[in-house]
Each structure stands twice: as C-alpha cells, then as structure tokens.
C-alpha cells in the first residue's frame, strides 16, 4: 500500500517575523541542511528573512501554533 501524503509550502511574512526561531525548532520535519540557507534565520540590512520555505511540510501546524507573531501561512 502506498501512503500518499499532501506536502505543503510554508510562507513567512518577513515584516512580522522577529526571528525567534520557534517555528524551526518545533518542526518535526525540518532538517536545517535542507532549508534554503542552512541556517535558522538570515537577515540583511534591508530585509530580514527567516529561512524556511519547504516542500516537505506535512502541515502538522506546530509552527503556526508557536509563532508569536502569526507570521506563518501554509499553502
């Protein structure tokens, strides 16, 4: 039997995110090496980016629950 699971993309609103890292450390699926930059966050002078944008999110909702700023949307 093949178990088919829908995978999601995670989007972070850069304006709202404070870079606390909660969404990354609470994620059961995340593997830092597989995140775009390999780090928790990446910030530049003009824009702050928290680096999770992934194709293997199972939609467990942990990160949504623990983000203090409601900066995350999962599509």
């Amino acid at each position: 039997m093949v178990l088919c699971m829908k995978l999601y993309d995670v989007y972070i609103d850069e304006e709202k995110c404070i870079g606390c890292g909660n969404c990354i450390v609470c994620c059961p699926e995340i593997d830092l090496e597989e995140i775009e930059s390999g780090y928790l966050t990446k910030m530049e002078l003009k824009n702050g980016i928290i680096a999770i944008k992934k194709k293997f999110c199972t939609g467990c909702g942990n990160c949504l629950k623990f983000c203090p700023r409601n900066a995350i949307t999962i599509r």
């Binding site: 995110c17 404070i18 870079g19 606390c20 890292g21 909660n22 990354i24 450390v25 609470c26 930059s37 780090y39 928790l40 966050t41 990446k42 910030m43 530049e44 002078l45 702050g48 629950k65 623990f66 203090p68 700023r69």
Partner: protein, 438 residues
C-alpha cells in the same frame, strides 16, 4: 569572509551560534540571530560619532581623543564626589577599570541593575539563589515557568535555544516533553503559547507566592480567589510544580518591580527552596542587557558588593536606597559623573535626571544617545562584540568571550578609554594624596 560562532551582544541570552558574512569590512548578512540581535550588527553605523564632543562655553565642538581624555581626567580630579554609572553593555575588562577609578577617586559606582533587578540581587544575598545554568534547563527541565516576563519580545530566542523547544539529554522530544506556565498581568505573546496562563492582578504577586507556599507546606486555602486567580487553579499549578522532574522559574521585571520588591523575590526564592523538598527546582532572573550580570560579578569580585557601591570612606560600603545611583543623584550628593554604556537621561526618575543635567558629566558610549547629547564630554568607543573582543556573563552567570567581527581603526574601546583615564589619574599623585590624606 564568514565569521562563525559569533556571540550576540544584545540581550542576556548571549546566543553564541551566529554566523556573519563580512565583505570589505562591511556586515552583509547575519544568520541565526533574532531581529533584535541582527539589528545590532546590521545597524551598527547608526548614531555613531568619529570624534569626541566637548561642550565649552555653551558650544559643542569636536576634539581629539587625547584632549577629551585630558579634560575628563581634570573634571574628575577637581570634583569632590563623582558617580560612575552604567556598565551593562560593555565588557568585564572595562568594568574592572571603572571600579578601580571609583575606588581611586573615592566615589560611588553603580550599574543598571539598580533600576531593574536590584531587588532580586538584594534577595539572593538574603535567602540564597538556588539556580542552574541554561544548559541544565535545556537538557533536564520539563516544567518552565515565566513569571512577570515576556521573553518572546525581550529575549526572542530564549525559548527556542534554552527552555521550551530544544531537544536535550533528558528532554529528547523537545517541547513535547515540557510544560510552560506563564504568570503575568496581561496576555503576552509568551502567554499565548503557554500550557497554562495565569492572569494575576497587578501588585499581588506576593500573595500568590504565599498561597503556593502555604499549599506546599500543608495548609489549606480558604479564599475562593487569590490575586485574581481561582483557588482550584492555584492547586493545579502547585500540583504541576510538585510532580515535574525538573522545574525552572524564570522571573522578570514584572515580579521584581511590583509591590514588595525584594520581599516578593525572597518569597519566590523560598517557594523554590520549598519545592526542592518534592522535586528539583531552580530559579533564574531574566537579565536584560547582555552584560548586566557581568557588572554584578565584576563589582562583587573587586569590592564585595554587586551594585550601588560607595567608596567615599575609602573602603567599600553598600546600602541600596542610599548609595545607589538614583539616590545619590536625587539627594544631590555628587558633583560629577562618568556614564559608561548606559543612557540614564532617558530612563531615570525626574529628580535624578534634574541633578544629573545640572552637573558636568562624561559619557563614554559607542552610540550617541540622549545622555551623550547633554554630556560635557562625550567620548565615542568601539562596540564590544562587534568591533572589539571582550568577556561578558550570560544570564546564568556563565562567562562568554565575545568576538570581533569587523575592524574599526578610528575609535578606542571602552576598556582603553577607562584604562587611560585611570592611568592618568594614578600619575597624578596629588589626587591620591588628597583623597586618602596621605
């Protein structure tokens, strides 16, 4: 160039896993930091000056470092009583020279804990401080309590690095293995993610702590609500505390600065001591500025007292409320001041600011802030942890060496400025003879 293992010189968490990309002595990206920490690196050029500024005959002018330090030494030498204040955002090495200057001049010296965790410091001298390191919390704690603090705003990575989420030796499943209790007067961001949130009435912390201790000591609670919290909820929380394997109580200004002050903290520490009859429990202050813990440590190892030290009699005395910065200023007991890495003009009570603005003072700070604006002599310095190395203490009293990320040839460090002031004062034998009546 990539600089790894950089320590963030912003809050008491002192996160030491930052990775910074530097190109041509410019900071390009900061990785792993929260927004607060990252901005300290990325915006390090904001509000900086390249030369000291002196106010003479009502006019401000830029001068060179030698002249500014000379003027500062003259000002301190000719004053009867000076106050040294600040030290929470500089290195231990600079603080050491601060204490030496205060002793030499027979002045007062105080750090910023006088307006934040001062009462907590007084308490742990009274009843002890059953604490632990953040490493212990990460590896062992299964119950985290935040009382009167909101780390998600003030110490954003505290939960993800040390308390709620990390997977430790005995907490392998991270947040699944832990419970979080938040006690606060309002529903903060941290409270929103808590397992249990207790909204306490303002200034009623002492009552709640006493109620918890009563239950622990086998007494029954008669009232329906205490401090705005239902009786059953208090029993539930005490049960959670008793039944955990390792609990840690983190407390902030919301507990320290409420009615009762050091007495409330005495009581909270005693609660933790009581809890140790049932399980392992620790308590820790949430320190704000990155090296305010270090200023307590260095003051204590050099003078025996952690803050509000009075050298006016030639030996160290300590009586917070009388010898603390706000009080010596409000009582007009000093006629000059040396402010290092702090901004008292923007956060002291009105009475203290009024006197500070009426006396000539020197400000040594990397950033040109409100206190620098009104200083007679302003001396800019390098930012510790960005432009110069130094040692700082994390909130759990662990010393950590801060790294240098970029070069800044134009400015001296806080340590160099204070060392120079100290050495020039020492050279002046008249000062020592006069002050110590040799």
């Amino acid at each position: 160039m990539i600089v790894t293992d950089v320590v963030c010189p912003f809050c008491g968490c002192l996160c030491d896993d930052l990775v910074i990309e530097v190109d041509n002595n410019e900071i390009k990206t900061v990785r792993n930091a929260c927004r607060l920490g990252a901005s300290k690196f990325l915006k390090h050029k904001k509000n900086r000056k390249k030369k000291p500024i002196i106010k003479e005959n009502g006019e401000k002018k830029e001068v060179d470092f030698d002249y500014a330090i000379d003027k500062a030494v003259k000002l301190l030498k000719n004053s009867t009583r000076c106050l040294l204040y600040g030290f929470s955002s500089t290195s231990n090495e600079a603080i050491e020279y601060g204490v030496k200057i205060a002793e030499l001049l027979r002045g007062y010296i105080d750090n910023t804990s006088t307006v934040c965790h001062g009462p907590s410091v007084v308490s742990y001298q009274t009843v002890g401080y059953p604490s632990c390191t953040l490493g212990d919390v990460k590896n062992r704690a299964d119950l985290i309590i935040y009382w009167g603090c909101n780390p998600l705003n003030a110490h954003p990575r505290h939960l993800s690095r040390y308390t709620l989420y990390p997977r430790g030796l005995f907490t392998e499943r991270g947040f699944l293995d832990r419970k979080l209790i938040v006690i606060d007067v309002r529903e903060t961001d941290t409270a929103k993610i808590a397992t249990k949130f207790l909204r306490i009435e303002p200034n009623k912390d002492y009552e709640l702590v006493s109620a918890m201790r009563s239950i622990l000591n086998g007494l029954d609670i008669q009232q329906d609500t205490i401090a705005g919290i239902k009786r059953d909820e208090i029993y539930e929380i005490v049960d959670m505390m008793k039944s955990c394997r390792y609990g840690v109580l983190f407390f902030g200004m919301g507990l320290t600065q409420t009615y009762g002050r050091d007495r409330t903290i005495d009581n909270a520490i005693s609660l933790v001591i009581d809890l140790n009859r049932y399980t392992k429990f620790s308590i820790m202050m949430m320190r704000g500025h990155y090296n305010v813990t270090g200023s307590n440590q260095v003051f204590a190892w050099l003078s025996g007292f952690p803050y509000a030290v009075d050298f006016t009699r030639g030996y160290p005395r300590y009586n917070p409320g009388e010898t603390s910065a706000v009080d010596v200023l409000s009582n007009k007991e000093v006629d000059s001041a040396l402010i290092i890495a702090a901004d008292p003009v923007s956060n002291f009570p009105k009475e203290a600011i009024r006197h500070l603005l009426s006396i000539p003072y020197i400000n040594v700070d990397p950033f040109y802030n409100l206190s620098s604006k009104y200083a007679k002599i302003y001396i800019p310095t390098k930012i510790v942890g960005v432009e110069v190395e130094g040692t700082a203490y994390r909130m759990d009293n662990i010393p950590i060496r801060l790294r240098k990320v970029i070069e800044n040839e134009d400015l001296p460090s806080d340590e160099e400025v204070l060392k120079e002031i100290y050495e020039r004062l020492i050279e002046d034998e008249i000062v020592i003879k006069e002050r110590y009546s040799i």
